[in-house]
Amino acid sequence: MRTWSRNESNHSGFPLWHAVRIFCQPYNVNYSDSWVYQINFIIIFNRQGKIRLTRWYQYMTDKQKASLSQDVVTQILARKRGMCNILELEGRREARGKAIYKRYASLFFCFGIDWNDNELSGLEVLHKYVECLDQYFGNVCELDIIYNYSAAYQVMDEMLLGGHAQETNKKIVVKHCKGFDKLEESDSIVHNLRASNIA
């Protein structure tokens, strides 16, 4: 509600004086990318800031990935207990959004989500992932994820695909992953047999 009346007269001429040149950049809304809220990246790192697992669901160059993950890790490690699990990522064009994170023992699990996504829902997907890992490995610890990183990826891919939750039923996720392991085992049995034959 403005009090001063708007002057009706309209001067078409532009100011001669060159210091005040551009008042208003044309602002174009670009709707080319359809918008569905999704997880943009997953970073798992430990208390020393060592990255244990990453998954990127949006395109970034390796350099951008490195700088973004470094940034996120430093900021999260600097946050104190009792602060909320949401970190707003400002000033990054490639990933304007939020990071939601939670600490489990020595590991931090962090998801990058879109600005208006539902933070709590994301946090619980994260928790579910940890539960699934826990069930799969049986009391999971950092070493499990280090030595069996491909299994950790497998559990992740069974739960989340392309940045969206696909299955939240722990039983089904773990069942599938164990099923894959059986396939793998049968492969390695064949391999061992061959190896012994050659010997």
Partner: protein, 932 residues
């Protein structure tokens, strides 16, 4: 992935205490692998092992520039373990624009077509993680096949849905989404909740691009929510800390926010029920963190949806109370989200009183220990600001600015500047605040802020003197920021003469104040000040000498810009006459009104360029262009061009409540006419073939069959009274199998309200018939008939689009008039445009009884013995509408047996009705039932 070599390598790396050692070990391993790969002829196992090692190094953050080919080779291995590592490798090492994508497309297609579901899944994972154009173009149809095929297992379907989503997001042009809409939407009914979850994500994306094509998802989403939340019908495996599949609930609630509120009363009641249940469930705070989070995740989404539906509803009021409790919570997450959701509410509602009650708490949140919370507090204050509280909020923010985080300051300055401009009630207040802001926030003031000040001062004459006085005052303070100098230079140059007579503000004093800081500021500012000086020469010839000295001095500086200005100004000032000087230094014209540069800057800052948000932070006006609102405008039949949106909405409102009760046709005429054209068009194209003949038989209001094919039979029964009507539609399944995913949508033209009395079943058993009742209300004059779209799944998804024979004449009540009355009114109405006449060639021989029947069936009362010529018909009726009042209808039908022609004259109190009624009757008279 039990491989000894890998385990040893990982252990080695872990034992490296220092980074140098790690680097050494990595380099050694890389060299080793490189040679192995070069030698070639590696076994699958070794290849897998080395790729695994490379991947581990990649995760640790080392650059991997080889080994991609080996990963690609592993994909086509027959062994699962090798294939799996190959796929993991490409998803980690490749990106969408990678050249290697071309090499894997064929292997991926082979795995998609494979009968082994596990291979399907691995392939889908790869597409979902890499998914560039190459893949979208060559694989989208395969993915779609896996998604909709009835033979796909649900764990393949889930993945296919999300893979499709990825491809669509990246390259929407590749996916013919509207064609697939129906089959994709039907999957939402899948019994498997995991499938439902994935498909909901997919539909959310598609629906944003093609809202009309996905309209039919609305009732499905509502029913699914109702089933889970109210009926509590779900599989126990999906319960997460006592909450049934919270993620699906959140997704569905979010999906509904992309559509305008549904008009179906049953559906909206159901949805209301769902929201109310969620609110009721949230009255208690569970102890368990997970339980609490899941519950709140749903609650916040439900509140957002409730705000979207109607921000003044009772539910939103209840929600506001919950939010008020949340922003006081001890738990930081809850505080954060409470503030965020309240900002959403404040951004769309007119009713800020409830929120204002908590102003103090919100201001306190600016001092929260967590920066995330502080940010939300700032946003909320910005959103809830209006004329009444602007002063408090702005002064709080300015006070807080000094201690605010550096990261926050620039945004704060912008917001303060915008609020001050928007809600200023006194000129002096605006100037005071802005100048205080510029002087205290210093470096955090962006260029836009001071540009805007100049713009506003120039455009408002009554601000000019006061601001000139104030800038002079500020520039004399010991700490004067350069931005202040810029504003000061501009304003004094333009309006310095207005204060020249005040003590301490004489021309030379003004000049001295500016020039005292001249040497300390940047080149750009100096250039600006030189321009001020030339203006001073024009305004105050008495200080010309001092200024010329400055110009003279600057004619020799190194900077080209300054030098040029100094030379030019010098030349202008020393000309024999002042003509040019006066022309150049004429007072600045007013700036044309444009969008505030501040707002665009703020929008840029929040980077919403690609974000189809459901809402934006800021006042109500910043929320008019969200997708759902655009859609709502589209629904009203407007071309949703953003520019004429406002005009469009305005027009519709005027027509909506246009002079109710007065049957003034001219006023309402334009309203209904263009509206149905838009929505109806796409449907009309797909009218079921052959449906015309059934429709024509039912035009006169009879009950009977509306459509029939080998699967479905549809019949209708109807009755009308005044402006109200009831319509029963029967759907009969003629086959011996059940019809699934049965859905009916009705598209009513504007002015006609069609509500279903209860929710229709989603399936029809073999050889059974179900009935759906609709109540009709004619609110305005309607010239189009409603359309109905029936879709069902029987082997494949089918749909039928039909017209419903609800003509305008249904809402006419017949009356009988005596001769004198009739002719009195006939004359009163007069000739065109309210009279319409047509000569109609009868299809067969003229049959008076048939003509009479045609008039009666369109609910007109035949007035006997009125027309002097026997054989002529005179008929009258009153058209009833609930909002546009009544329209009297009179007509004469003169048959001419010799020429086999009718002359039809219709006079009504509305020209639209006259024209339309004539058309209805003309069709009725032309209709020849014998052609059956």
């Amino acid at each position: 992935m039990a491989m000894r070599g890998l385990t040893v390598f990982i252990a080695d790396i872990r034992n490296c205490r220092v980074r140098e050692l790690e680097e050494k070990r990595i380099n050694k391993e890389m060299a080793n692998i490189r040679t192995k790969f070069k030698e070639g002829s590696l076994s699958g196992y070794d290849k897998k092992k080395y790729v695994c090692k490379l991947l581990y190094m990649y995760i640790l953050g080392w650059d991997i520039d080889f080994g991609h080919m080996e990963a690609v080779n592993l994909i086509s291995s027959p062994k699962y373990s090798e294939k799996q590592i190959g796929y993991l490798g490409i998803t980690l090492l490749m990106h969408e624009n990678s050249d290697l994508v071309r090499l894997v497309v064929n292997s991926i297609r082979k795995d998609l077509d494979d009968n082994n579901e596990i291979h399907n899944c691995l392939a889908l994972h790869a597409i979902a993680n890499i998914g560039g154009r190459e893949m979208a173009e060559s694989l989208a149809s395969d993915v779609h096949r896996l998604l909709v095929s009835p033979n796909s297992k649900s764990f393949v379907k889930k993945k296919a849905a999300l893979t499709m989503l990825r491809l669509f997001r990246k390259h929407p042009d590749v996916i013919p989404a509207p064609d697939w809409a129906e089959r994709i939407t039907n999957i939402i009914d899948d019994y498997d909740l995991g499938v439902c979850l994935s498909v909901t994500s997919l539909i959310t994306a598609l629906a944003q691009q093609y809202p009309e094509a996905f309209m039919m998802v609305i009732p499905k989403a509502i029913m699914r929510l109702h089933k889970i939340i109210v009926e509590r019908d779900f599989s126990a495996d999906y319960v997460y800390y006592k909450i049934p599949i919270p993620w699906l609930q959140v997704k569905l609630l979010r999906l509904l926010q992309y559509f305008p509120p549904t008009e179906d009363t049953n559906m909206s009641e159901m949805l209301h029920n769902v929201l109310q249940t969620i609110i009721n469930n949230s009255q208690e705070t569970p102890r368990n963190v997970q339980h609490n989070n899941a519950q709140n995740a749903i609650l916040f989404e439900a509140i957002n949806l409730a705000i979207h539906l109607d921000c003044e509803s009772e539910i939103v009021r209840q929600a506001t109370n919950i939010l008020a409790r949340f922003i006081l919570s001890k738990e930081t997450n809850v505080r954060y989200l409470g503030l965020e959701t309240m900002a959403h509410l404040a951004a769309v509602t007119d009713e800020l009183d409830e929120i204002k009650k908590h102003e103090e708490t919100i201001i306190l949140s600016l001092r929260d220990k967590d920066i995330s919370v502080r940010r939300r507090g700032l946003d909320l204050l910005y959103s809830m600001c209006d004329v009444s509280n602007a002063k408090t909020i702005v002064s709080e923010l300015i006070r807080y600015l000094h201690i605010a985080d550096y990261a926050l300051r620039e945004e704060m300055v912008l917001k303060i500047a915008i609020m001050t401009e928007k809600y200023a009630t006194e000129h002096s207040w605006y100037v005071d605040v802005i100048l205080q802001l510029i002087s205290s926030a210093g470096d955090h003031v962006g260029e836009e802020v001071w540009y805007r000040v100049v713009q506003i001062v120039t455009n408002h004459e009554n601000l000019q003197e006061y601001s000139a006085k104030m800038v002079l005052h500020y520039m004399r303070s010991p700490h004067c920021h350069e931005n202040m100098l810029k504003v000061g230079g501009y304003i004094l140059g333009e309006y310095g003469h207005l204060i020249a007579n005040l003590p301490g503000a004489s021309p030379i004093e003004q000049f001295n104040t500016l020039h005292a800081r001249f040497g300390l500021c940047s080149l750009a500012t100096r250039a600006l000040l030189l321009s001020t000086y030339i203006k001073f020469i024009n305004l105050f010839p008495e200080i010309k000498g001092a200024i010329l000295a400055v110009f003279n001095q600057y004619r020799h500086v190194l900077d080209a810009e300054l030098q040029q200005r100094a030379c030019e100004y010098m030349a202008i000032a020393t000309m024999p006459t002042d003509d040019l000087l006066q022309t150049v230094c004429e007072e600045m014209p007013q700036f044309p009104e444009r969008e505030s540069a501040l707002l665009s800057r703020l929008n840029e800052k929040s980077g919403q360029t690609e974000d189809k948000r459901t809402w934006n932070i800021g006042g109500k006006d910043s929320n008019d262009k969200t997708p759902a609102n655009l859609l709502a405008a589209k629904e009203r039949g407007e071309n949703a061009s953003v520019d004429d949106l406002v005009a469009g909405v305005g027009g519709v409102t005027i027509n909506g409540d246009g002079e109710a009760g007065e049957p003034n046709g001219a006023a309402q005429a334009p309203a209904p006419a263009p509206a149905p054209a838009k929505t109806g068009l796409s449907w009309k194209d797909q009218l079921a073939p052959g449906s015309e003949k059934w429709y024509n038989h039912l035009r006169d209001g009879a009950d009977g069959v509306l459509y029939e094919d080998s699967i479905l039979q549809i019949g209708i029964k109807s009755e009308y009274h005044g402006h109200l009507g009831r319509l029963a539609i029967y759907f009969g399944n003629k086959t011996h199998t059940q019809l699934n995913s049965f859905a009916v949508t009705v598209d009513a033209p504007e002015g006609l309200v069609i509500a279903s009395s209860h929710t229709l079943a989603t399936s029809i058993g073999p050889s059974t018939q179900i009935q759906q009742l609709y109540s009709l209300e004619c609110q305005q004059i309607v010239t189009d008939v409603p359309m109905i779209r029936i879709s069902y799944h029987a082997g494949s998804t089918q749909s039928v689009v039909l017209r419903l024979p609800v003509l305008l004449s249904r809402f006419i009540e017949p009356i009988q008039l005596a001769s004198a009355d009739f002719f009195g009114r006939w004359k009163q109405i007069g000739g065109p445009p309210r009279e319409v006449q047509e000569v109609i060639k009868a299809p067969g021989k003229i049959d008076l009884e048939k003509a009479r029947a045609a008039l009666v069936s369109h609910r007109l009362g035949i007035c006997e013995n009125v027309d002097p010529k026997p054989g002529n018909f005179v008929a009258t009726g009153v058209l009833n509408t609930s909002m546009s009042g009544k329209v009297g209808c009179l007509l004469r039908l003169e048959p001419n047996r010799d020429t086999n022609m009718y002359r039809l004259t219709v006079r009504t109190t509305s020209d639209v009705v006259s024209k339309h009624l004539k058309e209805i009757l003309q069709t009725a008279l032309l209709f020849n039932p014998q052609s059956r």
